[in-house]
Point group: C2
Chain length 335, copies 2
């Protein structure tokens, strides 16, 4: 393994100064064509490539052309779509992307953010885990822009891109109620996740505005796996007063519920998931658009990076109820 050639090496090889090499490498005007040719020849001969680390160090106050993306979990298809869309935007802005997973752990999130800011990233797109994000203030004070996606961060007023989680739950509930259901179960993921809190709040609000009283017997929280959700549904169905419809807080839960779903029970799942349309019964969902979320978040971030100093905004992206069958099973109160 040889040492990386430097501008000095190229300069010597080409018989010019390092400054001239710099000009050629950066395509600055005002270099004689013949000189440029000599330099290019030397560059090719030595296999020279500019060291962007050194460049970024010298050009203080300028951008490093690097943004960071801190997701819950890179392997999650929703997050992966978001990341892919954000990467496309970054590429269009000539930036590369550092990626990391917080795995829903605030300490890990903090550590990874720290590793990113130590490298002077221009900006950060964050799917914040629950807990205070005050620790971002230092980074932001010295110029790192931060945009939250999917969830909002507590303890800090930040640009945020979300969907109307509460409203989408209410829309799903209105759909079930319109199809004649009044005894509607809620099955959901961990309630410490912000989006889940909002969705559960939407469930309750919908019950309230329909004059239906809440029954804890048909509410289940903390379901992390499809099997958990299936089991929770089965025990509710075995009770004396079983639900006639189910609202699932997200795709994982919806999937589990579907596996244990009798044909006469209706289901609407929040979040779309791969193949939901191909299952039998096909699952009615309130879908969101992860790619749009990534594009929007990255757009906001680069606007900030390029000098936008307006007050922090929250962008709420639309969702779409997609009737596919499972949500249209008629209930006992269908008029």
């Amino acid at each position: 393994v040889l040492a990386r050639p430097t501008m000095k090496d190229v300069a010597q090889e080409a018989g010019v100064s390092a400054m001239t090499v710099s000009r050629v490498v950066n395509a600055d005007p005002g270099v004689m064509p013949e000189t440029a040719v000599k330099v290019h020849r030397a560059i090719r001969k030595l296999g020279y490539q500019r060291d962007d680390l050194a460049r970024q160090l010298r050009r203080t106050g300028q951008l490093t052309q690097t943004i960071a993306l801190l997701l819950d979990n890179v392997a999650d298809p929703f997050m992966a779509s978001l990341a892919s869309a954000a990467e496309d935007v970054a590429r269009r802005h000539g930036s590369v992307v550092l990626i990391g997973s917080s795995r829903d752990d605030l300490r890990r999130e903090r550590e990874v953010v720290s590793a990113f800011t130590a490298r002077r990233v221009d900006g950060l797109i964050l799917i914040p885990v629950s807990g205070s994000h005050r620790f971002l203030r230092n980074a932001m004070a010295t110029g790192t822009r931060v945009v939250c996606a999917d969830r909002s961060a507590t303890g800090l007023d930040l640009d945020t891109v979300v969907i109307d989680n509460r409203g989408s739950a209410q829309e799903a509930m209105a759909h079930l109620i319109a199809h004649g259901h009044r005894r509607i179960a809620y099955l959901g993921d961990r309630l410490d996740i912000w989006t889940i809190q909002e969705r559960y709040a939407g469930y309750r609000a919908a019950l309230h505005s329909a004059g239906i009283s809440e029954d804890p017997a048909i509410v289940g929280h903390g379901l992390r796996l499809p099997e958990d959700a299936a089991q929770a549904l089965r025990s509710m169905l075995a009770s004396l007063d079983p639900p006639t419809a189910v609202l699932a807080s997200n795709g994982i839960v919806g999937l589990g519920v579907r596996a244990a779903l009798p044909p006469q029970v209706a289901l609407v799942s929040l979040d779309d998931f791969f193949l939901a349309a191909q299952l039998d019964p096909a699952v009615t969902v309130v879908a969101q658009n992860p790619a749009a979320m990534g594009t929007t978040a990255a757009g906001l971030l680069f606007a900030r990076i390029h000098g936008d100093t307006s007050p922090p905004r929250t962008v709420v992206l639309p969702t779409q109820l997609i009737p596919r069958g499972s949500g249209e099973v008629p209930g006992p109160h269908l008029r």
Copy 2:
């Protein structure tokens, strides 16, 4: 936005030299506890964070603790799992991960690789697109380690982690033949993708060794979407001599084939996909393990980074045939 405080600022605030601050920041031994306390106080007061760019510049020949991951497409669930596993390994080695998508475009791949090596990444995990990868030689000569995953690169002898694509196709074919099929269609993705070439070769080899002659009428290539695959199957089924079984080159094709699959026709799909087990009929697949591939590739990479100079290896990961119903439909030749 304030300027980022430097070691000098901290030194002045604490009344010591920059060198002492450096020692404290890096937890070097041989600093008086009281001095360290003073420095820590100043660090907290100013919100100082070490600039790793400057650090990496000074410590030439040392690692930048950054690796890069260049995938086909970050949004692809297979790639996302691989990336997530690789990121976990990187994290355990104290490294951060730069990520990029090549979108099956050699020029884009080259550009992104270049942006990565300009930042002096220690290593690169690459899902190579088709075409020559000679351009990596420069980077490798100056110390950037490269490991290929999923596909092998042409024009360069590199560490590679793959599955036995040809063998897995042969295993799938043997399964169909054992269930009494002899007229077996092949439906596949673009043949310029290395894994697809291998799988198709496995299809042909299996036919050959079973003494079955190939029929171009029941072979389809270039299917990129489930709908394409469904359409291709439909026209084959409408012919005078339709297939009794189908081998699908990958999950996307398998999914499309399944949607158009009559109950008496068998299907084995290469690659597992989300919910393949929940469909009706459930899809028999030859599954691979993307997380294992990511872990293995990252393991190889860090071994190289930490000085392994043995000749390049190719690691072949095992696959698993999972019978789920669609592949066990009996054919006309069942004894």
